[in-house]
Symmetry: C2
Subunit: 81 residues, 2 copies
Amino acid sequence: MYKAKVTVTLRPSILDPKGKAAHHALQNLGLNEVQQVRIGKFIELDVDAKDEAAAKAVVESACAQLLANEVMEDFEIVIES
Amino acid sequence: MYKAKVTVTLRPSILDPKGKAAHHALQNLGLNEVQQVRIGKFIELDVDAKDEAAAKAVVESACAQLLANEVMEDFEIVIES
């Protein structure tokens, strides 16, 4: 059993209204040191595969088909055993 | 300027309906190797601080006050320069 950690982030050119709202709220709380906020997804998957490469292939397929929107988002996969 | 990467995850005892829905959808796509899915948040912050410790303190404060709900969620902070 492998554990996959996936971070899905909006591409830099895409506006992030959720991040903008969080940034604004942090400024209202007095945390003016924060210059920018961008919010993405962090997805943990348990994958049953025979080796790390097979696990990574499954997770890549899951990201491409469902978990990330490749038009607007990038994803990064880390596999742990 | 420091870059902070924050992962916010639901505590293990908390139900994750978003993750359950994603798991179900992956099974419908034939990705039966995936045994469990949990979905959290990945937040990137640019922080203007004099050193790494100061940047971390700002981000911890941001997480505790706004970005994470500590009743249900855990967060992990990584600071990069």
